[in-house]
């Protein structure tokens, strides 16, 4: 358990920890500070530095060329997948920090806000590197607890407080079920390290207990990724939370859920070893189809843009579940698995950008229904171009990286022999164009209905604008440049499987 020089592999996580503490110090020196640009600057610098370090590691092959780096006896593992996801979390966090400068201008407890976001990012980054069920649980809680507080951050707003409470209660229940599942698995395997579990459960006689344990762990992940059947908290929480936090939870937190889900199921419960206890591939196939369909149909019936995005992000979770639902043991499965990771990467930018755009709408006080965005392109054409990119990319049109990652998923399902999953994906994707294009139609095609004067009154929020445009540019660039990450993702997938 000695600290080896390999600890440097954890540098992105350590950077986040240092900056979270730095915010603590700043807040201690001046507890009532409303020096918002300074606080946001520190937070953004922290997550930005962590992102750059992770990106450099990722592209230089740390943990990939010489195999995964295992720390503290396998409690933490740094490999291609964990670095890729740390890049996702930290870039989402950076965008959220920058976008929050304007959003938080009139609010109290600014230092706490940035600190909580940084701590949650830290927790998520730890989730990406977790190599045992113990670290999975601890890091999951580290990511979740700040999120509960952040959702309820607008403490004078009933919607926000109610959403926070709902999120917290369901989250606590999910954690309890998750912890119980871990204990059952521990009872069977006598180990918490993921690789040790895999060896221990192969050929075990306690298949019933193992099956129940895995099922309970699945529920924990389904909560975190807002997948059916424990998705119902998500629309409430996303709608009630401050919009930058909705962006953060629906993008980063969801990705964190997926990275652990991917690792735990592939490493600890390889389907070949646990098939007698529970056929989780079939389970995830059902979950993926139900999640996609429920999310998309619910999104199609919304009148409120933020709720529409919330339900659509449930639908998107269904697409990513394909990554594990395609692990059928037939054909080339690393394709679907890696495509799931890539989709999370692109999704991190396009979904964060979309929610930050909503944050801009809230900043202007536009309202949240589709018609409240009517004619917005006349007042804010550049931001509307970015939002158009997000919507069409989410729908899978070739204007951003979402097109490619979705079609990689489609290719992946077919090469793994579950083409019918791909068919459901394609149909859902076509359906999603209907509600995504409603936003676009409102912004560009409809005539303004008189509520746009608020924009002149409040001016243009520079931080939010910058964040939205950066997210838009990255989303577009990921169309030609996804090759930078696709190799890593597919290699990481192949290395894990």
């Amino acid at each position: 358990m000695a600290i080896t020089p390999d600890w440097a592999a954890m540098a992105p996580v350590l950077v986040l920890a240092v900056f979270a503490l730095l915010l603590f110090v700043v807040d201690s020196i001046d507890p009532d500070s409303t020096n918002n640009p300074l606080l946001a600057g520190i937070a953004a610098l922290g997550s930005g530095t962590a992102m750059i370090v992770a990106l450099v590691y990722l592209l230089s092959g740390v943990g990939q060329t010489d195999g995964a780096i295992s720390l503290y006896g396998g409690q933490l593992v740094v490999d291609g997948m964990s670095l890729l996801f740390i890049v996702i979390f930290t870039s989402v966090a950076t965008l959220v920090h920058v976008g929050s400068i304007d959003y938080l201008a009139d609010l109290e407890y600014q230092a706490e806000y940035y600190m909580l976001v940084t701590l949650a990012t830290l927790g998520m980054s730890l989730m990406a590197t977790a190599g045992s069920l113990a670290t999975v649980f601890v890091s999951l809680e580290l990511a979740s607890l700040p999120s509960y507080a952040l959702v309820a951050f607008l403490k004078n707003n009933r919607g926000s407080v109610e959403a926070g409470l709902k999120y917290f209660l369901i989250g606590a229940l999910a954690s309890a079920i998750f912890a119980y599942g871990i204990s059952l698995v521990y009872g069977v395997a006598g180990a918490l390290n993921l690789e040790a579990i895999a060896t221990a459960v192969a050929g075990t006689e306690l298949v019933g207990i193992l099956g129940v344990g895995i099922l309970m762990i699945t529920m924990g992940f389904a909560f975190k990724t807002a997948s059916v059947p424990v998705h119902f908290w998500a629309p409430e929480a996303y709608e009630g939370a401050p919009a930058p936090i909705s962006a953060f939870i629906s993008s980063a937190s969801k990705a964190a859920g997926f990275v652990v889900l991917y690792r735990v199921f592939v490493v600890a419960f390889p389907i070949s070893a646990v098939a007698s206890a529970i056929d989780w591939v079939l389970l995830f196939q059902v979950l993926a189809i139900v999640t996609m369909t429920v999310g998309n149909f619910a999104a199609a019936t919304q009148e409120n843009v933020k709720r529409m995005l919330a339900y659509s992000s449930i639908g998107q979770a269904g697409y990513v579940l394909i990554g594990v639902a395609a692990l059928t043991g037939v054909g080339d499965q690393s394709l679907a698995f890696g495509a799931g990771m890539l989709h999370m990467l692109v999704y991190g930018f396009m979904n964060t950008g979309a929610f930050l755009f909503i944050a801009m709408g809230e900043y202007w006080g536009l309202g949240r229904r589709f018609e409240d965005y009517n004619g917005l392109a006349k007042k804010a054409p550049v931001a509307c171009v970015a939002m158009t990119v997000f919507m069409f990319s989410l729908a899978g049109l070739p204007i951003g990286g979402g097109f490619l990652s979705k079609y990689f998923l489609l290719l992946g399902t077919v090469s793994a022999g579950v083409w019918w999953l791909g068919a459901v994906l394609a149909i859902n994707s076509a359906l999603s164009l209907f509600y995504y294009s409603r936003v676009v139609k409102a912004m560009w095609i409809e005539e303004p209905n008189g509520n746009l004067e608020a924009i002149d009154r409040r001016g243009y929020p520079s931080g939010l604008y910058a964040a939205v445009i950066v997210a838009g540019v990255v989303t577009v660039l990921l169309l030609p440049a996804i090759g930078l990450f696709s190799g890593t993702a597919f290699d990481a997938a192949a290395a894990l499987l």
């Binding site: 080339d332 394709l335 992946g412 164009l433 294009s437 597919f490």
Partner: protein, 521 residues
């Protein structure tokens, strides 16, 4: 790198124009659009391609470039573009029509101009990309990329029912793309391990070599047929063929007229171009087996489209429905499976692009002056708008196939090719062609009738605007198009037809060889 230069000029130009203040946008976008035109004219001048781009060993592709892009599991997606004798004329058509459409937009477009012209240039890039791409994924990116600017151009700057028309266009063509996509991927997965890229020449080669294997319970023959018809429907919506044509009149009537020029002039050609590339080049056996069905669809499109045009009161609708019937001729030429049929079909794509562009531009000019398009609201405009009237008459004659005009050459090639065709036994093709030729009579009928009621006769006009000749920048596109139409009709061989023949002969040569599938199972 010239194709990349073309794309970059259009895309960068689109970005620049989008951020310009509105008052500079019209002239700036015209200036920018001349750059791709100059490049494509240069490309035409130095064009040295031979053979067909999709058939290996038949010759060399001009301006080809290939770069590794993404490796996705077993499939490599590469940037692969190049031009052969089929795509070169269509790229040229796109770069010629865009500056003319921009010029024609100066009068009618007076709102959010920088966004309008930016989108037009963005669409130009996508159109060029569709014709130049040789990798399926690159091609599909451009193919879908055309929809996005078109959706806005109709939805924002269109007529009273623009929202309905834009959504209808978007949904129709997007669902069609999905159907096509599924069909194409059925083929790719049916080919299994025999291909490792989505390179279109590689896929075409493997398909023509009969390497298609079973996909699950579906045998190779059935798979080929299913994929063929999935793609046929997918592309047919864009063409459009009857019965998938209903989005077209709505989109045309609601779109601003210069956009109708591009819609009829280039967008519809994407469908016929893709049919030629995918259905008729990759699966020649199925195309010949089902020639009766396809020829029947073509003939119905010709006659039914012409009849619908005959029944319209709106000048723009008349021209819009005439596209359905002209595109029917293209399908007829394709299904004939002869040098003249294929060549005529490709030639007709260009010819119809120019002629329908001219007709829409004329309707646009008339509308700019009179603010009405209804046949009953005006008559005897000829005295006061002689140039426009002359252009309209020229366009109508082009449509009706007057010799020495592009439409004549194209339709003549198609009919010769169709009469020579043996794909349907017992002179079936000749009989169908005879029926389709009757379409020309109807075309002449509705165009002459429309002209007689609007342009000639005693002057009368129900409106409050002064009727005078249109502005100079409105007339320039008309005259340019007439010159091009006459040039193309007078020297078809020298301009395009030799080039086209060179590219389609390899398709014909191998057409008779591969009639069945299933060798790879």
């Amino acid at each position: 790198m010239l194709i990349e230069l073309l794309l970059a000029l259009c895309l960068l130009g689109a970005g620049v124009v989008f951020f310009l203040p509105d008052r500079f946008a019209p002239k700036a976008s015209l200036g920018i659009s001349l750059a791709p035109l100059a490049v494509s004219l240069y490309m035409y001048a130095v064009y040295d391609g031979t053979g067909n781009a999709l058939i290996d060993g038949s010759g060399s592709i001009a301006f080809e470039s290939m770069a590794e892009w993404i490796a996705v599991g077993p499939y490599a997606l590469n940037w692969h573009v190049g031009l052969d004798g089929v795509s070169m004329p269509l790229v040229l058509l796109s770069t010629v029509l865009v500056p003319l459409a921009i010029l024609a937009s100066w009068t009618p477009i007076d709102d959010r101009e920088s966004q309008f012209y930016g989108l037009v240039l963005f669409m130009e890039a996508a159109l060029i990309g569709v014709f130049a791409a040789l990798d399926f994924f690159v091609w599909f990116v451009f193919w879908e990329g055309v929809l996005i600017p078109m959706y806005f151009l109709i939805g924002v700057w269109g007529g009273p029912r623009r929202k309905y028309a834009a959504i209808k266009f978007f949904v129709y063509t997007n669902v069609a793309s999905l159907v096509m996509f599924i069909g194409f991927f059925g083929l790719v997965f049916g080919l299994g391990d025999s291909i490792t890229t989505l390179d279109m020449p590689a896929i075409a080669g493997a398909l023509r070599a009969g390497e298609l294997a079973a996909l699950g319970p579906i045998g190779p023959e059935l798979l080929a047929v299913l994929a063929f018809f999935a793609m046929f429907v997918g592309f047919g919506v864009k063409v459009p063929i009857v019965p998938f044509h209903t989005w077209l009149p709505d989109a045309h009537v609601e779109a601003p007229t210069p956009i109708s020029v591009l819609l009829a002039g280039v967008l519809l050609k994407m469908g016929t171009y893709a049919l030629l590339r995918f259905n008729f080049t990759m699966l020649p056996g199925v195309a010949q087996d089902y020639a009766v069905v396809i020829a029947a669809v073509a003939v119905i499109s010709v006659i039914y489209g012409a009849m619908l045009a005959l029944a319209q009161q709106d000048l723009k609708r008349i021209v819009a429905y005439s596209s359905v019937s002209s595109m029917g001729y293209v399908i007829l030429g394709l299904v004939a499976y002869t040098t003249y049929g294929f060549g005529g079909a490709t030639f007709q794509m260009v010819a119809h692009g120019l002629i329908s562009g001219l007709m829409f531009a004329c309707v646009g000019v008339i509308y700019n002056v009179t603010h009405t398009r209804m046949v009953g609201d005006m008559s005897g405009l000829a005295d006061r708008m002689p140039i426009t009237t002359g252009a309209f008459v020229a366009g109508a004659f082009g449509y009706a196939g007057l010799p020495l005009m592009a439409g004549f050459a194209a339709e003549f090639f198609i009919f010769v090719g169709a009469f020579q065709s043996t794909v349907i036994p017992n002179d079936g093709m000749a009989i169908m062609t005879g029926v389709a030729m009757f379409g020309i009579v109807i075309v002449a009928g509705y165009l002459l009738w429309a002209m007689q009621r609007t342009l000639f006769g005693p002057f009368s006009y129900d409106g409050d605007y002064e009727i005078r000749e249109a502005a100079r920048h409105d007339v320039v596109p008309l005259l340019t198009l007439i010159v091009l139409i006459v040039a193309l009709g007078t020297f078809p061989n020298d301009i395009f037809f030799d080039m086209i023949q060179d590219a389609i002969n390899p398709v014909i040569d191998m057409g008779g060889v591969v009639l069945d599938y299933g060798g790879g199972a």
